[in-house]
Structure formats: C-alpha cells, structure tokens
C-alpha cells in the first residue's frame, strides 16, 4: 500500500492533535540512547570483517599543478603494503550536498594543497599510515593561481541569477533620515563533526557494500554509482549511526570512493578512515564572506531600503556558493532592495554546505547591522525589529505561512529579563558586562521522502534510509508512528541508514524531520484505514491508544485486529506549490550576557537564552538540544572559529582541533532554549512541523557580538571577535 501526497496547499486538518497516545512532542529519551552510552552503537569505521585491510590517504603537499611522477613503486615494496591506489579517478574533494553525481576527479592534477594524491593499502593500520606518509610526488607547478578573494586579479564571478533589485536603494539611502553602510567579514569555518569521515568497503558477488558516515544515502548511492559506473542495485550503503555531520557528510568524501576502488583491487574489505587533518582539507568547509549591508530608515524607524552584497569563494568546478543572503529578501521590510552575490575562484580546499548554509553567516551579519541601526535610531533593538516585521514577503509579495518573529522576540525577552541599556554601563571586578539580542531566521524546505511502516501484532517497524546524525530521527519517527498507531514507544522500532530502505531526502537543510515525519505520517494514516476497515468504522472515528483500538462501543487490542503477517504501508511526500504560494520559515530570538575583560579584551559568555518557533515540535528534548547546539555554534562563530588560509598557496593552516577552536565545555554557559510548543504551521505539511536543526545558528552569534558592544562599546565587524580586535578600542 502506498499513500502519496504532494504539498500543493495548506493542510486542512490537524489530525495529530486528535490522537490519544500522548507520545508526540514529549521530551522522550532517545531510543538509541543506551547503545550510545555503552559503546554499542556502531559507527562508520567499526565493523571488523575478517581479512580487513587498512587504507590511508596520501596528502598532496604541493605545489599545485600537474603530477609528473610519484614514488609509488617504492611505496608498494614497504612492509605490509598490499596496494597503492593511485588513479586518475580518485575524487578531488567531497561531493556537494544533494548532488547525485560523482565529485570532480584527480586526473593528473592537484588543485589544492591537501588533496588526496593516492591511497596506500596495507595489512595493518600502522603500516598503511607509515607508507602513506612516505609517498611523494614530483609536480609541475601551475602559475597565476589565486588564493585570496581580495587579492588583485582574483577571478570573480557575478552570476546574473543571483543578483536581485527592486525599487531604488541608492535614492532611498540618499533621502532616508537614518542610514547604515558597513562592511563585515566572517571567517572560513569547518563542520568538524566528531566522527572523522570513514568507509569500510566490501565487494561480494559483484555487489558493493559501504558502511560509512553519510548524511544522505539516496544521493550518496547515486554518487557512488556515477563514480564507479555501477547500477544502483549493486550498491548498498549503511549508516545506522553517524557521528555528526553538519553538512560535511552531505556528499560522500574522497575516502569512500578510494575505499571502494581499493577493495576491488585487493579483493578484501578495506577500511579507510580519514585523519582529522584530512577531514579538514578534503571535505567541504564554509567559505569566508565579505558582506556589505546597507540600511535606510525613516524617522520612525521603518526600513525603506535594504542592501546586502556578499563575496564568497570556491574551487574552480564547484557549483556551490554560500547563499549568504538567503533570508535577507523576506526577514525585514523595506520597499527598495538590492541583493548582490559574487564568487571568487580560488585554489583553497573546496567550500560547501555547513550547518545553515547562508543564514549562519548572512543572518548573523545582518543581525549585527540591525543592532547598529537600532542604536542610530535610539531604539530598543527589539522594538526596531518588531517595527520592521513585514506583512508580506517584501520581495515576492506573497504571504507568510506564519511569522513568529515578534512572538519569539517577546518570549525570549521576558524569559531573559531583557532591558535595553546604553553601552559601557557596568564595570564589575575588572570586567565589562553587557547584554545583546539577535533574531534568528531560516528558510523552511520540504523534499521528496518515503518511509515504510509495518504493523504486526508485536508493534510497528519504521524503515527509511533517512539518517540520524544526532538530530533525533530515531526518537521523532518512533513518536510520530506511536502517536498515530496508538503504540507506546517500546512497541515501535525505527530502522534507519540502510539504502535498501525507502528513500528519504536525508539529513540536510533542516529538511529531514518534517519530510521523514510526514512520510511516516502518511504511511500510518494508511494503516489506520486498515484498522478502521477491519472494525467496520470510519478512520476518523478511531481512537488508538496503548495497543487498543476504540470506536464507539467497540474496543479491541490490535493483536486481534492485525493479521498474522501484518500490514505494510509506504508513505511518500513531495514538495509542491505550498513551497512557493507562501513564504515558509522558522523563527528564533537569542539573548546573551557577556563579560569583556577590561585589561585583556577576552570575552566570556555568561548567559545565553533562545526562544524558537518551528511549527509542531516532535520531541521537546531533542529539539531543544538542536537549538542549544546551534546557539553554541553561534557562540563559536562569534568568538572562536576561524580557519586560516595561507595567502601564498591557499593551504589550510590550522587544520585540526588544537588550532581550529570550537567551543569547549567551559566556553559555554548553561544555555537555555525555549520552544513555542503550541506553534503549528499548516502550510508546511500535515504534521505542521518544520525543520529546527539549523535555526539555532541562523543569527544567534550576533547576540554575543551585540552584547560585546553593549558591554564595552567596541563594534566587531569581523568574526570571530577575538580579543585582539577588542583590545585596541577598549575604554
């Protein structure tokens, strides 16, 4: 049985609110929690099939250019070495997200320093690593390459489809009572998920099985098929547990194809786990941005003009460019608007999607600018924002599915105890204390997704190739199915991360929970029809609770209704016109209290609180954890995270966790995240749920930066706001 729905209109019922199980939305513990705290959850590089060989990638150390020769023959003779895979079709870098094709291949070239040159396969991990580190190449260096987006002569693309203009912003700026025209910078950043990318590849009877760290199996399987010229039926991908992704595992990384090639060459299963430094260089990172924000406001603080121009970069041949201004067209009012987008082609490691591509850096910078503008207007920054919440999407003229900006700002303000104050008011024990606020906004998207639910007398089994990268998929799909089928969580089993299961979009773009949740909903609605038919009642008259079906005077356990072989239903949801008839987004506010050391300029975040609205919340606990995680990323972007590229050759200087600073425990206060639990977005889908995994980073870092200004009067316009940028201007 199948149940398909294309989202062309607003949902006309809220069936989940009529259910009786009381499971959905609750802060239920993760069902896979026990596996994770006992070390029994099996991640990418943890199966140990017999006769396993180990592969270690060889890092190209430069210069960039043509590979003339390598010492492959010498390496092949080293102790324990089984093979040296040095082939033209080794991937250059990770595949971009939601891309069903292979990555650009190495060919006879190295395009960036750190690119995989080869793979050494040996009996033991230590032998493979030693031999890989001994491998060298003779290179013929390219000339005239560019490594810095702002260096003279850098190739800059300005694609026409990515520029937008309406009204006359220049005239608005000239006539406005108040204006802002400032330039901001954000640094390159890395996902730095805790689990390095890894794959164990094994061929058996012409079929390739790859156990790996992948976020989107549907696309990943197609990329493998394209890279190795295999039918999809010959490829099975397994990712039951993924140790974080944050965009870096959207597309398969070079180790995956290298492992498959090696396993075929040596006729053994091969494990290739990338070293942390290889993860930094060969998987995609977030491009640095240069952003110019222009704001024009009338004397009452109403925006009449908005300009947002940005420069990002990527390697030649990569289609992705950081969509910095993604939320700018609809977040705030203003009839005169200009969007600009420019891409520098550089020979740095490839850029790609990192948690909330676009808003993470675009909304954050815009929220920094909004704070500056509020000060010019002498307005409470919350009031300034509220005055500029548009009635319609000001760029497209379409309504919002719902706009919760004011609700989350007011809710957060009350919980935080927000008071608008002038800067430099509190100097306590050698620390300047200040508070700041920022809004968060992230576009909401749906994408084609299927899930199968089997109902037997024992309970229900949910199957989809969707992944749980820490986001809570195991919990929420269990809850959606349990709620609709009237089963407690321990009678629902959710199985994920197997490409043989029905295809989901995958974990990316905050699409997963709403899309997979809806697919499970559709499958369960079909099963409810079966139950109703068996009882001879209407589905809408059916109450399912704790394994019993009740309708009117009839009450029967499901064990007496469901046939021995059970029922199976597949739900499929597809994005439709609802995505373009209305503007769908998620909304948040973030408040921070910081202390800036009056002598050193060091900033410590003392308090951080957020309020978020994303439609129906499927699990209060896991949704809050996503928001707290996102806010911590905002804190990291504001204060710590900065990938440094050598301007001479583009190489990533600080490519590990000692030198690339992600927030550690003591950097992070006991952050609070609050959710508008009653929120429902009927335009999103019949579950009324939207994505929440990226909202927490989409602007929140600005609260920290704005708080620094409130504390000590120093405006940071280049992230991260490290102490050297504060020190010189301290009062």
């Amino acid at each position: 049985m199948t149940n398909e729905l294309t989202l062309d209109k607003k949902a006309d019922t809220r069936r989940l609110d009529e259910m009786a199980q009381g499971l959905l939305g609750t802060p239920m513990d993760r069902p896979e929690g026990v596996l994770k705290v006992t070390g029994k959850a099996i991640y990418a590089d943890e199966e140990r099939p017999s006769n396993l060989a180990y592969g270690y990638l060889v890092r190209a150390t430069g210069p960039i250019g043509r590979i003339v020769s390598t010492n492959k023959d010498e390496i092949a003779k080293m102790p324990g070495v089984v093979a040296v895979i040095e082939e033209a079709d080794l991937p250059r870098n990770s595949v971009q997200g939601a891309t069903p094709t292979a990555a650009p291949t190495r060919g006879d070239r190295i395009d960036y320093i750190g690119q995989p040159l080869a793979l050494v396969v040996a009996d033991g991990f230590e032998e493979a690593r030693h031999a890989a580190q001994a491998m060298t190449a003779v290179m013929e260096a390219d000339t005239g390459l560019h490594f810095d987006p702002e260096a003279p002569g850098a190739s800059i693309e300005t694609p026409e489809a990515k520029q937008a203009s309406q009204g006359d912003l220049d005239a608005a700026m000239a006539s406005a009572a108040f204006t802002l025209d400032e330039e901001y910078h954000t640094s390159s950043m890395h996902s730095a998920a805790m689990e390095p990318h890894a794959t164990i590849a094994e061929w058996k009877d012409g079929k390739l099985t790859m156990r790996g760290a992948y976020q989107m199996l549907k696309f990943n399987q197609k990329s493998v098929s394209d890279a190795l010229d295999l039918d999809l039926s010959q490829i099975r991908l397994l990712s039951p547990f993924v140790g974080g992704g944050f965009g870096s595992k959207l597309g398969i990384a070079p180790e995956a194809i290298a492992a498959a090639l090696a396993s075929k060459a040596v006729g053994r299963p091969v494990s290739v786990a990338m070293h942390r430094r290889q993860v930094f260089e060969t998987t995609t990172h977030r491009s640095a941005t240069k952003q110019k924000v222009r704001l024009a406001a009338d004397k009452d603080g109403k925006l009449i003009g908005v300009g947002h121009d940005n420069l990002v970069y990527n390697l030649p041949g990569e289609k992705f460019s950081e969509p910095t201004t993604q939320a700018t067209p609809f977040t705030y009012a203003g009839e005169n608007r200009v969007i600009g987008h420019h891409i520098a082609r550089l020979h740095r490691p490839a850029a790609g999607s990192v948690r909330a591509p676009g808003e993470a850096v675009g909304a954050t910078v815009f929220e920094m600018a909004m704070d500056e503008m509020a000060e010019k207007l002498d307005l409470d920054p919350i009031e300034f924002r509220v005055r500029n919440i548009p009635d319609l999407d000001p760029s497209k003229g379409i309504p919002f599915s719902e706009n919760r900006m004011e609700a989350v700002l007011r809710d957060g303000a009350e919980r935080f105890g927000w008071k608008h104050t002038k800067p430099k008011q509190r100097l306590e024990d050698g620390w300047w204390i200040g508070t700041g606020v920022a809004a968060a906004v992230r576009v909401n998207m749906m994408s084609e997704t299927s899930a199968r639910v089997r109902l037997t007398q024992d309970g229900a089994v949910v199957e989809t190739d969707m992944t749980d990268i820490g986001t809570g998929t195991y919990a929420i799909l269990t809850q959606v199915a349990g709620e609709l089928l009237g089963l407690p969580a321990n009678r629902v089993e959710t199985r994920l991360g197997d490409s043989d299961f029905p295809k989901a979009f995958g974990s990316g773009g905050s699409v997963g929970a709403s899309s997979s949740g809806t697919a499970v909903y559709l499958a369960c609605m079909e099963l409810r029809q079966n139950i109703a038919a068996a009882l001879g009642v209407e589905e809408t008259d059916l109450t399912l609770k704790d394994g019993r079906a009740i309708s009117g005077n009839v009450a029967k356990p499901l064990t007496e209704i469901v046939p021995g072989e059970g029922w199976s239903a597949t739900g499929t949801v597809k994005g439709g016109k609802a995505g373009s008839l209305v503007r769908q987004a998620t909304w948040g506010s973030c408040f921070a209290e910081v202390a800036v050391n009056a002598v050193t300029g060091e900033t410590r975040v003392r308090r951080m609180l957020g309020s978020f609205a994303a439609g129906r919340i499927l699990n209060e606990k896991t949704a809050k954890s996503q928001c707290i995680g996102g806010m911590t990323w905002g804190l990291g972007m504001a204060l710590h995270e900065e990938l440094v590229h050598d301007p001479r050759d583009g190489h990533m200087v600080n490519r590990d966790l000692a030198e690339y600073h992600v927030p550690a425990n003591l950097d992070v206060p006991q952050i609070e995240a609050h959710l508008l639990m009653e929120d429902r977005d009927d335009w999103a889908n019949p579950v009324q749920a939207k994505g929440i995994g990226e909202l927490g980073i989409s602007g929140t870092g600005a609260a920290v930066i704005n708080a620094i200004y409130n504390a000590c009067g120093v405006r940071i316009r280049s992230l991260p706001g490290t102490l050297d940028k504060i020190l010189a201007e301290l009062p």
Binding site: T38, E126, I628
Partner: protein, 175 residues
Amino acid sequence: MQVSLDINGASVALDLDARTTLLDALRNHAGLTGSKKGCDHGQCGACTVMVNGRRINSCLTLAVMHEDDEITTVEGLAEGNTLSPLQRAFISHDGFQCGYCTPGQLCSATAMLDEAAKGWPSNVTADLENATPLTDEEISERMSGNICRCSCYPGIVEAIREAADAPAQKTGAEA
C-alpha cells in the same frame, strides 16, 4: 609483538605492531570500538579511557606500555545490564546527540568525579586549602578536554551534577 592487556577485568592477548596506540589496539584488535577516534592527536577527548582509575587519551599512548595496567573503557562502565548513574543521567539530560564523543565524556566524567572527591583542584578552583563544591564551573572546566561538536555541554554538566549529587555513589562524592 605479544601484549597482554587487562581490559574491563578481562585479560586479552594481542599480537600488535609496536606502533599500535592503545586506542587502535582496542578498536582494531580487541573488538572494543566503544572508544572513539576523533582526532588521533589528543585534541578532542573522544578516546578517553581509564588506566588504573586515571583518565587518559588512549590515542596518545602505545598499547605495549600498558602490559600490567587495568584499563576501563565505556564497555566496562555498566554492571551487566545496569547502567551507571552517569550513563543514565547522560540519557535523561540528553548529554549527547550524535553520541560519538559520549564514550570519552563518560570515561572522563567517571574519573573526574573521583578526582573531585579526592579534593584535586582544577584551574578554576579558587581555594586550594579547603574543599570546594563541585559547581557547574568546576564541572565545565574539568570536562573541557572532551569536545562535543553537537554542543551538548549544558546537558553534560547537568548529567554530571545529578550523578555527583546522587547519594551512596561508589564514586564517593562525600569521601
């Protein structure tokens, strides 16, 4: 070379390349993949195990150096099917999301509670003469060698605080 390791109370005989780290011995040879490799550089803490009750980064030490040592990994924290108070608290406070850093966090927290109970100071301990309560700041500082990129630090701190406050714990918060 032949090495005999005492892991979670069991003696395990392994034939290892002398360059094998304790972490790789556990993961690649002893069948214990609970301990995680996040950086292989002593930067992230995902590989934390306890050796003779002290927490160490198992990626920064060679297996052959631990012939007579008692090694405890995440697989050894529960007693049979009974989770330790820390393991239970990590689940209820959502002290993890992806779960990859969790084994290291748990081993680190287990040893850390013991260090605190013994009165060992940390970098944020203001008074070295008298017993200092295990505040959130103390917990955070003492756990800062274990990175969690999902950023579950607030839940981790709550979980550790709950386990530390639990009465009659063998980690001996009152000792």
